[in-house]
């Protein structure tokens, strides 16, 4: 189920696999917060991390960043990067609000057009990267400012679209079959991306391109077309994230999704996907998203952090520490095996 797994020796390879270690870290993290972050309040009700409401909040708060991380996984597998997804989220939220509020379109029509706009935004990235052979980092740095600037220009920085109908807010604020509605949408997209990356020749092509674009071209892969597709897909998913974001907050404002691209990239890299492309998995990305979301929400429940009013600062600090630790940790087995092989030789 993942690209880097060697199938040689039984349990050792399962345990030493990066995803397994990350899963253990996630579970430990969860129990830590469950242990220290759950209390009983003055009225005798259990409050804090150990409540079902809190778990649902974690799901709801991580859906949009989670979607962006899923969008970025194929991109990063091809050794690309997309810094514009957060800005595109903001632009799509504004477009959706404008089409519905000022354009008089129905919610489904406005949503469909927003998804098209997202794909077009991704298409712009794709065109610049594949046709003009510009580096993805620079292209998406440009569209990062461009999309956000457009969102601010459309609203003059002043308009906030609100008063969306209850039927639309259902997708961001209510539950369906026991879970927050957007969690189902997220699961659907996650399953689709997993199938695409791990069960189709397309997914194999993404990794091959990431390893060596020249090699992929010699092997007859349509490199440009595949690369273009991952950016269009990223734009489409960013638009979906914009709809969920708007439904969750009940408002569309030009600052929607500011900084989300960096959280998403962090989640992907924490999930074990190599920033140089070629190696990584969707499962890892999901675990990375979960590890960051649990950390962020869990910290806000710890009495000591609450007293210091430092949840936001602490979560930034610890997310950074976790990422650096994971990167260091992922290098250790390699160092260990090279040490052992040298040792055996002498």
């Amino acid at each position: 189920m993942n690209a880097s797994g060697s199938h040689s020796a039984g349990w050792k390879s399962v345990v030493l696999r990066y995803e397994t270690l990350l899963f253990v870290v996630l579970v430990a993290e969860w129990f830590f917060f469950y242990h220290y972050g759950t209390t009983t309040n003055r009225r005798g009700t259990v409050v804090g991390f150990g409540t079902l409401d809190r778990q649902f909040d974690i799901l709801r708060h991580s859906c949009e960043i989670g979607l962006l991380a899923l969008a970025l996984t194929p991109v990063i597998l091809t050794a690309g990067i997309d810094l514009s997804v957060g800005s595109l989220l903001g632009l799509c939220a504004i477009l959706f609000g404008k089409l519905w509020h000022d354009g008089g379109l129905s919610i489904p029509a406005a949503a469909a057009l927003t998804l098209v706009a997202g794909a077009l935004g991704g298409g712009l990235n794709a065109t610049l990267i594949t046709r003009l052979r510009l580096p993805p980092l620079i292209v998406t740095l440009g569209t990062y400012s461009l999309f956000r600037g457009l969102a601010e220009a459309i609203t003059h920085g002043a308009v906030t679209y609100t008063d969306f109908p209850a039927g639309f807010l259902f997708f961001g604020q209510e539950r369906w079959l026991g879970l927050p509605t957007q969690a189902w949408l997220f699961a659907l997209v996650a399953a689709a991306i997993w199938l695409l990356v791990h069960r189709t020749t397309w997914g194999r092509a993404f990794r091959t391109i990431g390893f060596s674009p020249e090699g992929a071209r010699y092997a007859g892969l349509p490199v440009e077309r595949r690369v273009a597709q991952v950016y269009v897909l990223a734009g489409l998913i960013a638009a979906l994230a914009a709809l969920i974001y708007t439904a969750r907050l009940g408002q569309a404002k030009a600052d929607a999704g500011t900084g989300y691209e960096l959280f998403a990239i962090t989640a992907v890299v924490l999930g074990g996907t190599s920033i140089f492309g070629g190696r990584g998995s969707v499962t890892g990305t999901l675990l990375g998203v979960a590890a960051i979301a649990v950390l962020k929400n869990g910290l806000a429940c710890l009495p000591v952090v609450i007293r210091l009013n430092a949840a936001e600062e602490m979560s930034g600090l610890l997310t950074g520490a976790l990422l650096l630790l994971a990167l260091t940790g992922s290098v250790l087995p390699k160092l260990w095996s090279s040490f052992r092989s040298r040792h055996r030789r002498t």
Binding site: V14, V15, F31, T38, T39, R42, A158, T160, T162, L249
Partner: protein, 327 residues
């Protein structure tokens, strides 16, 4: 060949069984959210709020976004809901956006009070109103008119173009401008995101785009020192005058240097103090809808108009009196 995962999970499960439940110490838990945590205006609010919390023997949590960000405000309110606090008090960055989360809090039995910037009326019990919008808007415009002799160009720096209170003040300024000062021209309204350095760069841009500019009016507290610094650096002291809402300490220097003519504000520390007193009274069922007055500790009695608890009239600080205040 055995997979060790089940064993690891078992150990962790046993650990979880030891869930610590801290003893409920019976203190009311009051929360206070500023629009932005680092804004000096809200830091002085906290000073008064802390004092009130100490006097009343309640616990006060003060937390908010590091920048004026409506989405983060929602997440913090949702966090407080699952923490099961008793009262949530907020200065809303975005009326409609935050009201959804506040209504959810009310549904769970948490009392809600707004201060400084209101949410929608059905999403809170009371609004602690620092000054009537008319008092602020007209006060600033009249002061601007006095400085430019009721004619010429002036510009406004606001916090964000979406904030409810700022929009209301702007509307009132527009109305009075048309009715009373037909020779004055409002050339631009620029947002500063409640940040001093952004206000400074906006003021610099305003001055180069409008060479005949006479007065800059800042209707958010970081805007006033920001605009003053811009005027000073541009060497236009005396030519462009700055007035606005502002804390005395942040503006003393500019007032004495003659860059800023006067700053207007209410006592922000009292605003925090009154908000916490109202929150506690609400939680203890001592403050009920329909009340006409409210007693807040050492500050005495306050008028309640409808569901607005009024702090009183704004105050003008100038060269003559600014040194008497320290906040």
């Amino acid at each position: 060949m055995k997979n060790p995962l089940p064993r690891i999970l078992l150990v962790l499960g046993l650990l979880a069984g030891l869930t610590s439940v801290s003893a409920a110490d019976g203190k009311l838990m009051i929360t206070m959210m500023p629009k932005a945590k680092g804004n000096a205006y809200f830091i002085t609010c906290k000073v008064g709020a802390d004092k009130a919390a100490k006097e009343l023997g309640v616990e006060l949590l003060f937390d908010g976004p590091t920048d004026s960000n409506a989405a983060k405000q929602n997440e913090i309110v949702e966090n407080w809901i699952t923490l099961g606090v008793d009262v949530i008090t907020v200065a809303a960055e975005n009326k409609e956006g935050l009201s959804t989360a506040l209504r959810k809090a009310q549904k769970q039995g948490i009392k809600v009070i707004t201060y400084d910037a209101d949410a929608l009326p059905d999403a809170r019990s009371f609004f602690v109103n620092q000054a009537t919008p008319q008092g602020i808007a007209w006060g600033l415009l009249d002061e601007a008119a006095r400085l430019c002799g009721s004619e010429g160009e002036f510009a406004i720096i606001t916090a964000t173009l979406t904030a409810g209170n700022q929009r209301e003040w702007l509307k009132l300024i527009d109305e009075r401008l048309a009715a009373k000062y037909p020779k004055m021209k409002l050339v631009a309204v620029r947002p500063s995101d409640d940040l001093k350095d952004k206000a400074q760069s906006e003021a610099t841009a305003l001055m180069s785009a409008n060479p005949n500019l006479k007065v800059i009016v800042a209707i958010c507290t970081p805007g006033t020192p920001g605009a003053a610094e811009a005027v000073k650096q541009a060497g236009k002291v005396g030519q462009v005058k700055v007035i606005g809402l502002g804390l005395p300490n942040e503006n003393k220097r500019y007032v004495h240097e003659g860059v800023t003519e006067s700053v207007m504000l209410w006592n922000t520390s009292d605003l925090g103090y009154l908000t916490v007193y109202a929150a506690v009274a609400l939680a203890r069922d001592e403050l009920k809808p329909g009340a006409k007055t409210f007693q807040a500790g050492s500050l005495g009695s306050f008028e309640i108009r409808g569901d607005n608890i009024l702090l009183g009239q704004p105050f003008i600080f100038n060269k003559g009196n600014i040194d008497q205040f320290d906040f």
